[in-house]
């Protein structure tokens, strides 16, 4: 029996072979080390993400998220619904909040779920993986399995938006959250001061409004360089993808020479816990984190 059981909600980007596949791989490795059993919610569906609004409207988005809760309640009773993706977590929490606040909406939602023979009871709790780590395992507990130090590597902790606002991780500030820095430090790395911690990367508008988004991304990467960082670390798959993937685009268009690896906290911890580069999903980096690979290879 694992120390902790969670109803895991990977979300579309963190499925196998999806854009945040390396997140999934590293989270799995990290959870193995921490003895957290990730029980995937059977037949889960997309959360709708924020960008689903235009066509989706309110009730359809609430309903599809409620479907995931209904499935978790049915198949994994008593377990927290844990997401690794910021947007998934946000959609889950917002949906839960609204269903709690409005009996009317809840009735309508259940009417919709009834079409598939499901119902939402409201007895699970939506959480983020980071919350599980900080609140259930604790920084001391996270430090305990560390066998390799990330000494000498400087990280800019980039939290982004939706892991931070409007809910955020309990006890953290909106403007200057500290938990990524703490994770970096417990893994032996150095967290540099960083003033773009909570800047928006453009989110889904990276697709639709690339120019506008890439200006955001440029600020985020540039500031990491300015503060002497070797790598950026983040908890959000969309942040990771946007900030990593578009560096070459920005270089091409604006003549910059960005080449800053962007990693997940779970990758850092996996390496610090003695995991291999593959276990840490480091092969999933477009901009390779060679120094981390070196440590993992030792």
């Amino acid at each position: 029996m694992a120390k902790k059981n969670i109803a895991f909600y990977p979300g579309c980007s963190s499925q196998r072979k999806s854009s945040a596949a390396n997140y999934l791989v590293s989270v799995q490795s990290m959870c193995d080390k921490l003895d957290i059993a990730m029980n995937e919610i059977p037949d889960w569906n997309c959360c709708g993400a924020s960008i689903g609004y235009a066509e989706g409207g309110e009730l359809p988005r609430v309903a599809i998220t409620a479907r995931n809760f209904a499935l978790a309640e049915k198949h994994l009773p008593g377990q927290d619904v844990v997401s690794t993706c910021a947007a998934c977590w946000l959609a889950n929490r917002e949906t839960q909040e609204r269903l709690e606040a409005s009996p009317h909406l809840r009735a309508e939602t259940n009417e919709a779920l009834g079409a598939a023979g499901l119902s939402y009871q409201g007895n699970t709790k939506a959480r983020h993986m980071v919350e599980v780590l900080i609140e259930d395992i604790g920084y001391e507990g996270l430090k305990a399995p560390v066998v390799k130090s990330l000494e000498g590597i400087k990280f800019a902790g980039y939290v982004g938006c939706q892991t931070n606002r409007p809910f955020g991780i309990a006890g953290e500030s909106f403007e200057n959250p500290q938990y990524l820095d703490k994770m970096v430090e417990l893994a032996g790395g150095e967290a540099v001061p960083y003033d773009q911690k909570v800047t928006c990367c453009g989110g889904a508008l990276a697709f639709s409004e690339p120019e506008k988004s890439q200006k955001q991304i440029r600020d985020i990467v540039e500031s990491a360089y300015d503060h002497g960082a070797d790598m950026i670390v983040t908890p959000c798959p969309l942040c990771q993808a946007n900030v990593e993937v578009y560096q070459s685009e920005i270089n091409k268009k604006q003549g910059t020479q960005f080449n800053m690896p962007v990693l997940y906290y779970s990758q850092l911890l996996t390496v610090a816990y003695g995991g291999t580069a593959a276990e840490a999903g480091l092969d999933g980096q477009i901009i390779r984190a060679s120094r981390l690979e070196e440590i993992a290879g030792k």
Partner: protein, 205 residues
């Protein structure tokens, strides 16, 4: 519901319409015009109307201008406005709601890239229950036609190849990809939800 083209200034008609039909629309009236949302938006410099201004326009009865505005479509869902609003207006949601309402009425700006993308996203995810990232990307590139799509695809070739190499883009998704087992149930839920919501709004699906 009033759908007169230009309602009289500062009449409640449009405000009421928004309250009835827009997600969290009942909070529009609570804005006190401090402008913190306008200053907090990362893409704020790109749009014509800030959220606070949109709210004032709603109260002023400027229906057409509001619903055809591109402002709502610039929302990155960063939630800065929500976190800072001193009146706790769920601004992000209201903007989404307005966008959705304008879109459903067919008033939203034509060819607005985020609008197109958002529609595509929803259709993509509802098709199989999960997002097919490859199809979404390709669909987005080819939205303006084959030629533009190829050009765009070539431009972004580096990005795509990078993801492919990193095994973060699965070419096999073109054949279907992830798919729910109970897809029928899922579709039934979506259809039912939409039906309820449209009924509430007096729209027909």
């Amino acid at each position: 519901m009033t759908t007169a083209n230009q309602p009289a200034a500062y009449r409640n008609d449009f405000l009421k319409e928004v309250e009835a039909n827009v997600e969290e629309g009942h909070m529009v009236k609570m804005c006190m015009q401090c402008g913190v949302c306008a200053g907090s938006c990362p893409l704020g410099s790109h749009w014509e109307h800030s959220p606070q201004k949109i709210f004032m326009m709603i109260r002023a009865g400027k229906r057409e201008e509001v619903l055809t505005s591109d402002a709502m479509w610039m929302c990155t869902s960063c939630y800065n406005c929500i976190a800072r609003c001193p009146r706790k207006l769920p601004i992000t949601h209201i903007m989404h709601g307005l966008a959705n309402y304008a879109h459903r009425l067919g008033l939203a700006p034509k060819g607005q890239p985020t609008r197109d993308f958002a529609v595509m996203f929803w259709n993509n995810l509802t098709k199989t229950g999960r997002v097919n990232e490859l199809k979404l990307t390709l669909g987005h590139y080819f939205k303006d036609g084959i030629g533009a799509g190829i050009k765009k695809g070539l431009e972004m070739k580096g990005v795509g190849l990078g993801l492919l190499k990193a095994k973060r883009l699965n070419p096999m998704e073109i054949l279907g990809g992830h798919k729910l087992q109970d897809l029928a149930g899922f579709h039934a839920i979506v259809a039912k939800a939409r039906e309820i919501e449209d009924r509430r709004r007096g729209l027909s699906s």
